[in-house]
């Protein structure tokens, strides 16, 4: 029997979860923005199934860089990606998503070339970033070591 495992998506009925009437934790800043809620997509394996840049940002990057891309600070921090001059060079962003650096994990084995191109393009055109020279999956592929 064939099972479509790789492309299987688990759509949680998160919209219906509101009926559970959970007390909302206090958000001290940003983030309790309904628009930024998880799209209801969950991956079934090690790799991500989200394909659009926005969905990848909201379901993955947001974990550390936050809904407003402002990052966060504790004993160490996650950098803000807003109006980020580092993003001008697309290759820098591709390399960082592929191979990570310091606290930033590597996504080389969790995202395809298409997904990395999508999320890099999303970042470079949102949060005060205005770089419209879109990168292609081929460019991502060329950076893979």
């Amino acid at each position: 029997m064939t099972r479509a495992r790789t492309n299987a998506r688990l759509h949680a009925t998160l919209a219906t979860l509101a009926v559970l009437l959970l007390p909302r934790p206090q958000a001290l800043h940003a983030e309790d923005d309904a628009a930024a809620r998880n799209s209801g997509t969950f991956s079934s394996g090690y790799r991500f199934v989200e394909m659009s840049g926005e969905e990848l940002y909201v379901n993955v990057c947001r974990g550390c860089h936050m809904a407003d891309a402002m990052g966060a600070t504790g004993a160490g921090g996650y950098p803000s990606l807003t109006s980020d001059r580092n993003l001008e060079a697309a290759g820098y962003a591709i390399d960082l998503v592929l191979y990570g650096r310091r606290a930033m994990p590597s996504f080389a084995n969790m995202m395809s070339d298409d997904q990395i191109a999508a999320v890099v393009n999303y970042l470079r055109t949102h949060f005060g970033n205005d770089y419209h020279d879109a990168v292609t999956p081929q460019e991502v592929h060329a950076v893979r070591r």
């Binding site: 029997m1 099972r3 299987a8 688990l10 949680a12 009925t13 998160l14 219906t16 979860l17 559970l20 959970l22 007390p23 909302r24 934790p25 206090q26 958000a27 001290l28 800043h29 940003a30 983030e31 309790d32 809620r37 998880n38 997509t41 969950f42 991956s43 079934s44 394996g45 090690y46 790799r47 991500f48 199934v49 909201v58 379901n59 993955v60 990057c61 947001r62 974990g63 550390c64 936050m66 966060a72 600070t73 504790g74 004993a75 160490g76 921090g77 996650y78 990570g100 650096r101 310091r102 606290a103 930033m104 994990p105 590597s106 969790m110």
Partner: protein
């Protein structure tokens, strides 16, 4: 066969050594022959010599830092510890009713668990071969109880197999083992193993397969009381009239193969998860608290380290009060044991050699999420006869961990409603606000235990990438990074040595933190005694 009169068998050799030289020598010999090597731990550390007047600054009051502080002070050093949190323990941590936790991004959760209930957001189990950690538990009077890794009556669940119905681990294990045994018995009977095994060995193998796989007299794994004695009964044996058991029906091999449930069986086979496993009575943080009882007087809490500078005379660490970032304070010592997670240390100013700095920068931190859920009653015990252990699922919650204490009690209890380690789901749950994580755990968990919907009361969710004092769960070494950087990470650099699970071959385990710390202070002490 091999055991001719002139061949000294290993067993004979060992008993000879034991008789002549005593059991300690026999233990050494057994280790040399590849037996009994359960741990690198060789008992309480002995730091000989007189280091009085020499000071060590320890960064981080987790298990690595507090182990170093405890042993160095005992050896005669003057020790102080800087700790970012307002408590000791680090990732050795438990959340109870009344505790609150603010994660990165600002979401504050207050734990509403009833008295005596807790979640261990970090480590939650201790393998029997983690002998250093067990020894510290013994020395510090931390009471332990069994942690149930394999409960035959817990579930394996595949959302697209068996109509979404969870299957008992016992039945999956028995059926998989039985059907593989039947296949192998068939191959043996058909002469397909003639080139591999002697006739005599084949005879023994058939007997073994019957015993191991619950095969019937025809070497088949069939519905009946033999297989039911392994997989469970349709009607178990009773008393009085109509007491005889009724057999259950095995699930076919193809169904098990296609369900993917076989992939969970390794969780009961791997060295790290073999019985006996332990947990501290009352919560994992009992260990951190016991350490803090010993070294708490050395700890400066709320100390956020910003810079580590060494010269040939000592180390100076700049820090601020984590609750008042404008303050700038300094602490100095002759030497420094730094247990700050690399995710944070890589962002700090530190003057170490280029190879060491490259190693510090080379290790990203894994994502992990744990969600504790409180229910009005122990329905998993009362309705489903699951006492402790873990159910595994392919749903995004991945695991449900049942409490391994308080069995058979009435009233509220907390279970682990999700445990995601690495992989896509860990990131997806981290990216959700805490209340969504809890709601998601309830929603997905209800597919396995429909009682969730009626019995759920409250929950708390910890996503380790959002934990301010670690920015992740544990050092996520690749083989390549380890080959290139690990030794450089562990080497003493001037007057600084690193310790923690990230400087061990036991990543994410508390034992790794302690063994790393003991190794680091042993080398540090040798260096001190030479200078």
């Amino acid at each position: 066969m091999q055991d001719g009169p002139l061949t000294l068998r290993r067993r004979d050799l060992l008993s000879l050594i034991g008789a002549v030289a005593g059991s300690a020598a026999m233990y050494q010999a057994m280790t040399a022959l590849g037996f009994a090597a359960e741990s690198r731990y060789r008992g309480p550390i002995r730091l000989e010599g007189d280091p009085r007047g020499i000071s060590v600054l320890v960064l981080g009051a987790g298990l690595a830092g507090m182990t170093a502080a405890l042993e160095l002070r005992k050896a005669g050093y003057s020790v102080q510890i800087l700790e970012f949190n307002d408590r000791a323990g680090g990732r050795n941590w438990s959340l109870r009713g009344g505790d609150s936790f603010v994660e990165l991004g600002g979401f504050k959760q207050t734990c509403d668990f009833a008295d005596g209930l807790y979640l261990n957001p970090g480590p939650w189990r201790i393998p029997y071969h983690h002998r250093a950690l067990l020894d510290y538990c013994k020395r510090l009077n931390v009471a332990l109880e069994p942690f149930i890794q394999l409960n035959h009556n817990a579930y394996l669940h595949a959302s697209r197999a068996f109509g979404g119905m969870p299957q008992r681990i016992r039945a999956v294990k028995a059926d998989f083992q039985g059907e593989i045994s039947e296949l192998l018995a068939k191959a043996t009977s058909q002469g397909k193993l003639d080139e591999t095994l002697s006739k005599q060995d084949q005879e023994i193998l058939l007997q073994a397969l019957r015993s191991w796989g619950a095969l019937d007299g025809d070497y088949r794994y069939s519905a009946g009381l033999i297989s039911s004695g392994y997989r469970g009964y349709a009607k178990p044996p009773g008393g009085g009239l109509a007491a005889v058991p009724l057999p259950s029906n095995p699930v076919g091999l193809s169904d098990i193969l296609n369900s993917g449930l076989w992939r969970y069986l390794r969780n009961f086979a791997e060295y790290n998860f073999q019985t006996t496993m332990f947990q501290p009575v009352g919560g994992m943080d009992m260990i951190g608290k016991a350490f803090a009882k010993e070294v708490g007087d050395l700890i400066h809490y709320n100390a956020k380290v910003t810079e580590i500078v060494q010269d040939d005379r000592g180390v100076t660490v700049t820090y601020s009060d984590a609750k008042n970032s404008k303050s700038t304070l300094q602490a100095s010592a002759d030497w420094c044991v730094c247990t700050i997670p690399l995710s944070i240390l890589s962002q700090l100013k530190i003057n170490v050699g280029a190879a060491k700095k490259a190693a510090i920068d080379a290790v990203p931190y894994a994502g992990a999420v744990k969600i504790g859920l409180q229910f009005k009653r122990r329905f998993w015990e009362e309705d489903d006869a699951i006492y402790g252990g873990i159910s595994y699922t392919d749903l995004p919650i991945r695991q449900i961990g049942y409490p391994n204490s308080g069995y058979n009690r009435t009233g509220r209890a907390v279970l682990l409603g999700a445990y995601l380690f690495d992989g896509a789901n860990a990131y997806e749950f981290t990216a959700m606000p805490p209340d969504e994580r809890v709601a998601g755990a309830v929603e997905f968990g209800a597919a396995i235990h429909p009682q969730y919907r009626r019995e759920f009361e409250n929950g708390i969710a910890v996503a380790w990438h959002r934990v301010p004092f670690t920015l992740g769960c544990s050092g996520d070494w690749t083989h390549e990074a380890r080959a290139q950087h690990y030794d450089n990470l562990c080497r003493i650099d001037g007057r600084i040595v690193l310790a923690g699970e990230h400087a061990s071959a036991l990543p994410a385990w508390q034992e790794g933190a302690i063994l790393s710390s003991l190794d680091a202070i042993t080398r540090l002490h040798e260096r001190v005694m030479k200078t």
